[in-house]
Symmetry: C2
Subunit: 254 residues, 2 copies
DNA sequence: CGTGCTGTTGAGTAGATTCAACTAAGGTGG
DNA sequence: CCACCTTAGTTGAATCTACTCAACAGCACG
């Protein structure tokens, strides 16, 4: 199950065996990290690039009043800090949610792969742009949707992102987040998250037990929150948006 | 006043005359666009790179129920779409707020400048990372702060960003946003924005008339909303965070 | 001199919060 | 093996922040 990154990249661009081998070679220094551990703290100087191979992590900030805001979920195949080496210091922290496998990649190794593998370079660019698009969609979520749609939207997004890295089986996936985590993500109180999850359960849209989320009716859940996956820019998956020009795969990667 | 971009980049990295000349040469095709005009619509295919030379614009999305969510303000010196040429289609729209001067830059010109000017390349990277950091901070704003702090925070951010491009005089700057714009930005109703602005005026923190925002007491306003400018990663300005290693300017741009 | 957009203010309402009590589950040590 | 402790989840009641609806004032524009 170490191919999360490759699977994700291939949901955008078809890679050659050579490309895949180069990516696999990045995962030399794999490290196991427990749940609820800081990988990086706000103010730290960037060092290596970190990649989540397995498990869930998040970006977060803590406000002066102690309030925590989670700004991103990092799932297998996601980079923690692909480009931050430009900056002097982290402006947010990164912590594991569940136990994780993390790869430390020297930024020189990233530079090397990008000079030799144009398709991989394009795909890494795509990663960064999608991360930003997800951030924008979360902003829409917090700014424009009520609590029940907000949480449904998050669940839809996780389904698609996890499916792109092969972590979904029969519409079920690992869900190690506590209700407090979701509250700090969605700008809600933990109590209200509890009631909202109950609503989604009562409506027969999801079940959630033993840290496993199951979506009972994907189409109904998507309709419930008007979910539009275009911002994930998935191309080679069953969720890909219909396009006028299905300019698929085998890119000549300029 | 065409040097907004250069000024902004120099708040991160000192540039040579040669670098500056190359950047100035980008602004060939300048275009005037009226207020409230779409520059790009969701679903469009990316074409050129667009740069705001003068005026204010925004990124936004419209939800199925007609609700508009603004996700970013673009001020002089900001790129609309520095890297989106990787993607097949825009996942959000971009519109002017006030009348603007926009430069259309062929992506080839960007590629050319980045191969020849490593300091400029680093600085453009920095732009993209700061844009993302601003987005994260906005998420914190919507998720974690009450309406009054939220709006105060936005005003503080605009002050710093506009100061970095020379658009602030005696703590005053152009503020062409309507209260509805602010509402759609901050996830509030226009009525509540009105009352909140009145609160800030009553507290003697700001004045706002004839589309000009004046901050009466910058330190008090920043204290009011616990403003921390670290996410803007400004280095060569009076707002720069104190650093242990002031590894300033004249970077050997690797 | 109306028309439309922006801003302002009041009144009633609703969605979400806080506080609080309590249950369930998991882990630890005697 | 069970008492104990801690964390996560659940539910009720009261409160509050922010919303909706509505009316109106100021101003620009044709």
């Amino acid at each position: 199950m170490q191919d999360a990154l490759i699977r994700k990249l291939e949901s955008f661009e078809t890679l050659s065996d050579h490309d895949r081998a180069a990516l696999t070679a990045l995962a030399l220094r794999v490290r196991k990290v427990g749940a609820r551990v800081d990988l990086k703290r706000e103010g730290d100087a960037p060092d290596n690039v970190h990649l989540v191979l397995d498990g869930y992590a998040c970006r977060y900030k803590v406000l002066p009043d102690g309030q925590r805001q989670i700004m991103a979920y990092l799932v297998p195949g996601d980079f923690c800090d692909l480009n931050v080496f430009i900056l002097d210091q982290m402006d947010h922290s990164i912590a594991t949610i569940s136990a994780c496998q993390i790869v430390d990649i020297p930024s020189a190794a990233i530079e090397a792969i990008t000079t030799e593998h144009p398709r991989v370079t394009r795909a890494l660019w795509w990663c960064a742009l999608v991360d930003e698009a997800v951030l924008r969609e979360w902003l829409v979520n917090l700014g424009g949707r009520p609590a029940n749609h907000r949480i449904a939207h998050l669940i839809c997004e996780l389904l698609l992102r996890l499916e792109a890295v092969g972590r979904v089986t029969r519409n079920s996936f690992e869900f190690p987040f506590t209700q407090s985590d979701i509250a700090d993500t969605m700008g809600l109180s933990a109590v209200h998250v509890n009631r909202t999850l109950r609503e989604l359960r009562t409506l027969g849209l999801i079940t959630l037990k033993q840290r496993v989320m199951t979506i009972l009716d994907v189409e109904r859940l998507k309709a419930y929150c008007d979910y539009n996956p275009n911002y994930l820019h998935l191309r080679n998956t069953r969720w890909s948006a219909r396009r006028t020009v299905p300019w698929l795969g085998s890119g000549h990667g300029g």
